[in-house]
């Protein structure tokens, strides 16, 4: 049977009705497509007022200092990997989102919110490189973060990011893992690891330890071998360490941060620190 080469068809393009230069392949994402049908200009203005209404010193300094020099472009991996397309430059992203919102004082139509959400969520990695390249040290990433907050308040968030956030809302970890599942997994990994390292223990909830390790939720779910590897390293190094199973706060990843859901961001971080305080741990070690 002859192998049929997959023909790459011409993709449909999306041209922004607001910025003719903004041409992208068309994507289908219910998180963006469906939600913009539900928002109204009043809701948009309310969200704008909530995020940008009260001008803080940071926003003021950033918006009033930028001299549009375009030196931040060289820092952006999106810009560099897209043949230096002007619309991928950090300052262009700010222009198409914040300047446009501020120019119209939040009185914008849903189709612009779609563009804004697409730019802020899918074309910026919030890596802070542009802030380090800016001659004025303007925190461009902070501004993009605020734009994400604006989109989150309107519910215009890519589906996958929002689903992940819902996992955090329900279970405080990103993989819908229950506390009993977690404990079970740790016992299982202890058992498996004992064959390879004598007297391997998976210490749980020990008070007054030196190191508390918070794994990433993907580790007990998908990359379980990471757990006994780390346990072996700690054991051989003679570190007095523990894992936390007393409640649901054990996942160190903070996905709500990516859509700027402040409430859940706080729940996660507070949960981790509360547990550390309860166990009187000296150091927190997080997987990254």
């Amino acid at each position: 049977m002859a192998i049929k080469p997959e023909v790459s068809e011409e993709k449909e393009v999306y041209v922004s009705p607001h910025f003719p230069e903004y041409v992208r392949p068309k994507i289908e994402d219910p998180g963006l497509d469906e939600t913009i049908k539900r928002i109204t200009p009043e809701k948009i203005e309310k969200a704008y007022q909530a995020v940008f209404g009260k001008k803080t010193a940071r926003i003021k300094a950033i918006v009033e200092t930028c001299i549009h020099c375009g030196l931040c472009a060289e820092a952006c991996q999106w810009y560099l990997s897209n043949d230096r397309d002007p619309t991928y430059a950090p300052v262009a992203k700010v222009k198409m989102t914040v300047w446009e919102l501020m120019k119209r004082k939040g009185k914008v139509e849903p189709s612009l919110v779609y563009d804004i959400a697409r730019i802020a969520f899918t074309e910026c990695n919030i890596c802070h490189r542009c802030s380090l390249y800016c001659p004025f040290g303007l925190d461009i990433t902070f501004i993009i973060g605020l734009v994400r907050r604006f989109c989150f308040l309107l519910g215009v968030v890519p589906q996958r990011m929002f689903e992940m956030n819902q996992a955090f809302m329900a279970t405080l970890n990103q993989v819908w893992m229950s506390q009993s599942d977690y404990i079970d997994t740790l016992f299982w990994r202890e058992e498996e690891g004992m064959y390879e390292l004598k007297n391997l223990r998976m210490p749980m909830d020990i008070e007054g330890v030196e190191v508390i390790w918070y794994p990433l939720a993907a580790e007990p779910k998908a990359g379980v071998y990471h757990i006994d590897r780390i346990a072996k390293i700690f054991q051989v190094a003679g570190v007095n360490w523990t894992m936390v199973t007393i409640n649901d706060s054990w996942d160190s990843s903070n996905m709500p941060m990516f859509i700027r859901d402040f409430f859940n961001m706080q729940r996660i971080v507070r949960g981790l620190y509360d547990n550390a305080a309860r166990l009187r741990g000296k150091k927190l070690v997080l997987t990254e």
């Binding site: 200092t65 001299i67 230096r84 300052v91 262009a92 222009k95 380090l132 004025f136 925190d139």
Partner: protein, 220 residues
Amino acid sequence: MGFLESVALYSFLRGPMVWITFIIFIVGSIYRSYTLINLAKKERIVVNIKAAIKSYFHWLIPFGSRNWRLRPYFTLFTFVFHTGIVFIPIFLYAHNALWYESWKISWWTLSDTVADVWTILVIIGCLFFIGRRLFNPTVRFVTTYSDFIFVFICLFTFLTGFLAHYQWLLSYRAMLNLHILFGEIMLIAIPFTRLTHMYYFFFTRALMASQAASWKTKDW
């Protein structure tokens, strides 16, 4: 042409207008800085002085930071332009003479040759910036009319000053009036427009430097 050359205009620009300009510039700048700092105090903003000074140092010397090294021509022109725009007016012999006439104070001055060459370089810098805004697609995409106006104000100030010194093109007095007018517009514009980057530089730079220091990285 008559009005432009008139002594009345000259004495207005040279007399009350100078006072107004400097009062607006100084009071406005202090007000803008003060309100920004006051606003920042209400927020949780950490400032690490040591990191900030290091950061100033690296960004204020040519080729001191990675981004300056990535764009040698831009760096060259921006430094010649910005140092020129600050130091030429202060240390120019003719300006010094005016200070001496009015208040009997004076300080070091630039020699005529240095001032001329530097002024020409500043003018070339202005043209470079305009060209960049026109022909660099990345910059053109984010350029607004105000950006051109800022550059043109600087360009005209220096160009008319240079032409007035050599008494070319227009009559000396007309050129001089234009020069004073543009200079005053520039100074007045500083507190009200994005030309505030003249002193906001130090605040925003300090903020980023402190943040970078808290991540144990450097921002240059």
